[in-house]
């Protein structure tokens, strides 16, 4: 993996003439886990899509760049709310999907090692329908790691999991994605309080950075600072409405 760059996005986006987000400036520090927290409908996912090069139907007036000035294409991996596993492929083949789609040799041994790392050593040959929601999201995490991209964009990847699976998945992701530039879009204050090395609050009026506690992320879910920070974030969210 090449060095993880910082990310910058500034500008405004509209779709079919209607605004999605107003003029805003986003700065994501290099090699850190940044949470972009905000209520539904402020355009958080759109920011992520623009950085992923998935602008598609929307009109974006601005720039989405990497801190090192090189293009982002080919340096970004994406993990979404749905696991997006192919139902006809087993876990190993799903992890190898990127290589197969690019026409590269599928490194099945490495894929198995990554599945082992996310705790799925016994499930490497199972199809997605034979796995639980948490296990499927682990396969998606292994697929993301397989891509070995310095920038990882997370679009509420834990929001469909139950509380226990979510907490486990958060710890695991923080561990395996350490050192990469992670931009994690979430509407969950508790999640941002646990994971964010940087926490940015996105509202209709723009993006503001919020001071984070001294404790290193991932923070313990029941530590007083984490809970206090969670409360603080939730208050900020409430007040912006």
């Amino acid at each position: 993996m090449s060095a993880a760059p910082a990310l910058h996005l500034s500008g405004r986006a509209t779709i079919a003439g209607g605004p999605i987000f107003g003029p805003l400036d986003l700065d994501v520090p290099a090699g850190e886990w940044t949470c972009l927290l905000g209520p539904s409908g402020v355009g958080k996912s759109t920011v992520l899509r623009l950085l992923a090069g998935l602008g598609g139907a929307l009109a974006f007036d601005g720039t989405a760049t990497a801190g090192d000035g090189r293009p982002l294409t080919g340096r970004v991996a994406l993990m979404a709310q749905q696991d997006l596993l192919m139902p006809w492929l087993d876990a190993t083949a799903n992890v190898c999907l990127g290589a197969v789609l690019r026409g590269d040799a599928a490194q099945r041994t490495r894929a198995r090692a990554l599945l082992e790392r996310v705790g799925l050593a016994d499930h490497v040959r199972k199809r997605p329908q034979a796995l639980s929601g948490g296990q499927r999201q682990r396969v998606a995490l292994a697929r993301t790691l397989m891509e070995d991209r310095p920038v990882v964009l997370l679009d509420e990847p834990f929001s469909a999991l139950d509380a226990r699976a979510r907490a486990l998945m958060q710890d695991l992701s923080a561990e395996v994605l350490a050192g990469r530039t992670v931009l994690h879009v979430t509407h969950d204050a508790a999640e941002a309080a646990r994971l964010g090395q940087t926490v940015l609050l996105m509202t209709c009026s723009g993006i503001t950075a919020i001071e984070v506690p001294q404790t290193p992320a991932p923070r313990r879910f029941d530590a007083p600072e984490t809970l206090a920070f969670q409360g603080h974030l939730l208050r900020q969210l409430m007040e912006t409405q």
Partner: protein, 243 residues
């Protein structure tokens, strides 16, 4: 009650109703023979029926296989190439405005009285349902999967082959299931227009000689063949989708 028992019961009821109709209206055997007579003919003419059923089966199977392959390839071509969509799609729709039945005499003229004109009829009649079912499914790939592929810097041809095609196989399977029912219709029409063998030819021949019992026997054989074909295609599609 199991499915077999239910189907058997319904068949028995239908046979009874048929016999009752024949008895009540005292219908002559050259208008509507009773089920007893038809079953008897089915047995006594079994060699004749089997011989003609063999040719019809060959025509239907070849038509189904060729039509399936052609439909599969056409749908992929339509998906892969905008030019193909632009040129071929209106032609496909227009071809459906021409009744396939009306083409049977022309096909017989071009391809002769042998197997090929019937295979062509079966192929033509199933080509559109297979192509359109598969093409529709190919165009409905979940957009999130395509976006994931784009972020992975996938090659378009590989997205098509490794994501869109496998995701669309259920659509292809439903097209094939329809085709299994349509293909015999095509073959029979081909045989009616001009043939020297096949169940359609036999039915026409029996009709001309007022051997209505033989005509009904041929009809039953044809129906059973179609049901078996549909069941076989259905089973094959299930295996294809599970593998």
């Amino acid at each position: 009650m199991t499915r077999a028992a239910r189907v058997g019961g319904i068949a028995l009821l239908a046979l009874l109703a048929w016999q009752a109709l024949v008895t009540a209206f005292a219908l002559p055997r050259f208008i509507l023979p009773g089920p007893g007579l038809v079953l008897e003919t089915l047995w006594t003419s079994r060699a004749l029926l089997a011989e003609h059923a063999f040719f019809t089966t060959i025509e239907v199977l070849l038509g189904l296989i060729l039509g399936g392959i052609l439909g599969f390839a056409s749908a992929i071509l339509l998906t892969a190439s905008q030019l193909a969509r632009f040129v071929l799609r209106p032609m496909l729709v227009f071809s459906q405005a021409v009744p396939v039945f009306a083409l049977a005499p022309i096909l017989t003229l071009w391809l002769g009285y042998g197997l090929w004109s019937k295979i062509a009829m079966a192929l033509l009649i199933i080509y559109f349902p297979v192509t359109s079912a598969f093409f529709d499914a190919l165009m409905r790939t979940p957009p999130e999967w395509l976006e994931l592929s784009r972020v992975m810097n996938a090659r378009p041809a590989r997205i098509l082959w490794h994501i869109r095609v496998p995701a669309a196989l259920p659509g292809f399977a439903s097209g094939l299931r329809l085709a299994a029912v349509y293909a015999p219709i095509g073959a029979i029409i081909g045989e009616w227009v001009g043939a020297s063998r096949g169940l359609g030819y036999l039915m026409l021949l029996a009709n001309g000689r007022a051997k209505i019992d033989l005509m009904f026997a041929a009809l039953i054989v044809l129906a059973v063949l179609t049901l078996i074909l549909h069941a076989a295609v259905d089973a094959a599609c299930r295996r294809l989708l599970e593998s």
